[in-house]
Subunit: 340 residues, 2 copies
């Protein structure tokens, strides 16, 4: 097993809240971290904050707008880009990526039109890189809690066990537990699809259906995620793990989630355009609902929750009517539905 | 398939909050419901409330302290007793139980010394009854929400599919969804063991570990429940369903749960005797932790969360130290632990 923690520099791309939180984890390992961002102003903020005490940023973290500088001499690269930006970011990385560097991404979502997973997008845009070594990081991990060093457990997945173990060594701390998983497909699919159920959970909470209804939604929702993921080649056990159940629970029960907030506003009868304008940021679950239904058609899988959600999002169906149609499905056997 | 909803009387034993809530479900079906309770005063309260408007109790619900009267002419019996009282209640039922009546229980827990499931206790005490037809009702169902007709989804399990379907017909309403499951063992074990994880969730919340930690605990907790349950003969899929994941989520995320409250007080460093005195009611998770560890020895299964919890409950180990020992376990592969 090759362990490469002797070398010392990690590039983190881009400097969002999750990129910053993971940079702190890396700095606690004594690593040099170079954060890449498009924004000159953010570079200045971060590098100035480094000079002042109590900024919360370790002195080992520096920012730059130069991809060449960010990647130069890095033995590991952590990509935390929005899913819509992944292909463009990968193309920017291409000329500067050290071929031996470990490549980890922590982005949850599919590419919109192609329906590709993030590791597939990276592999396509980085043909000189050994794609088997790409690692996906996922699991229940609010960035704010990681930034405050609250106990957190994540999973790193890769087709290469050795690469997953490298990522584990790179990030593992007493308060930041890292498990490996060989099921790259399952870990990526779980992280993407949970946003659909988080939107639906926001709706049931907005309709004041209560905790019983939300627990049932999570249960049926995880079965739906597992059904599509398994059809796509994932190991069903992955969905019982941190990137499935774990991430689903944290996203659906936290009022910090943008997806949950959007669902809550939809339950009040607001049309999608107004809801998105009010939130003012990307709501990943909206795009993911479309992607999931396209994938469901491709793999011939039924997704009743995503179907009803799409009716609410894109066809103006009242949320109550969608919920009633879900509840009103013919009575059945639980295991047949879970195992379908 | 035999469907027996033509007959009209159901006995509900005993008149706790869950028994009362389920009585309302039955009354909404137009059934006569006779609630049995030990307490003369409660009989009077319920029967007087029936006369007044707006009591929330349908006119079809009557109470009695006579087991003979409660069971006379009943085509179905719903037992909702505390697990510690199940054997004694079953013995009281024995002389009066109509042999053709459908017998459903909605009690979560094991018998303390024997480690028997509730359906096993009922079968032993009711030798003249066809034990294959015993049905267990479980799933995410706060009684208060059911009493307010909030959308709720439960599962009914029996060795006899026909009996489970009878229970489904008896209870199914547009807002109260009932799924069948042939896995009686899994449904009973899931409902009992989730209280252990709820206690632990109260502890992590009391220690202010945050949502990431709680989601990880739920994930590892469900794996632990599934491991023991499968060793006991359950279908692992059941734990991905309403009586596993669903009930776990609702119990661990609700501040209404006595188990969660007890964990919260334990996190503050209070000894168990003080905590139990402060709560003043049965905290099922405490007894279940002992039962689960005894079952784990019998079936040769490791339960790291229950083990640490037992140290806190019975050996005075500080909750923080237990949490650290859980977090500090050797780094590993996720699927190996889930599948262990």
């Amino acid at each position: 097993m090759i362990r490469r923690i002797q070398e010392r520099k990690t590039a983190v791309i881009v400097a969002g809240s999750w990129g910053l939180a993971l940079s702190r984890v890396l700095a606690e390992h004594g690593r040099q971290v170079t954060l890449w961002t498009r924004k000159e102003m953010q570079v200045e903020q971060i590098n100035t904050a480094q000079a002042s005490q109590g900024s919360g940023l370790a002195p080992e973290i520096r920012a730059t707008t130069s991809m060449e500088q960010a990647l130069f001499g890095a033995d590991s690269v952590l990509v935390v880009a929005p899913s819509a930006a992944m292909r463009e970011i990968a193309a920017r990385i291409r000329p500067h990526l050290p071929p031996d560097a470990l490549l980890i991404h922590a982005t949850k979502g599919f590419e919109a039109q192609s329906l590709k997973r993030m590791s597939e997008v990276l592999a396509e845009e980085l043909p000189a890189y050994d794609s088997k070594r790409i690692v996906a990081l996922s699991g229940p991990s609010h960035a704010e809690e990681v930034a405050h060093r609250r106990p957190t457990t994540v999973v790193v997945a890769s087709h290469s066990i050795a690469a997953a173990e490298e990522a584990q060594d790179l990030l593992l701390l007493p308060w930041f537990r890292v498990y490996t998983n060989p099921d790259l497909v399952g870990v990526e699919v779980g992280g993407a699809l949970k946003n659909i159920i988080a939107l639906a959970a926001g709706i049931t909470d907005g309709l004041q259906f209560g905790d019983n209804a939300k627990a049932a939604l999570l249960t049926r929702g995880l079965a739906e995620i597992s059904r599509l993921g398994t059809a796509m080649g994932a190991n069903p056990l992955t969905f019982a793990g941190l990137a499935g159940l774990g991430d689903l629970v944290v996203t659906c029960t936290s009022k910090l989630s943008r997806n949950w907030k959007a669902g809550n506003l939809l339950a009040q009868g607001k049309p999608l355009t107004d809801v998105l304008a009010e939130i003012g940021m990307v709501v990943e679950g909206v795009r993911t609902t479309e992607s999931a239904l396209a994938l469901a058609r491709r793999f011939d899988v039924r997704l009743p929750i995503a179907e009803q959600l799409a009716q609410v999002l894109f066809a103006g169906k009242p949320a109550v009517a969608a919920a009633e149609d879900l509840m009103g499905r013919s009575r059945g056997s639980e295991l047949e539905e879970i195992d379908a």
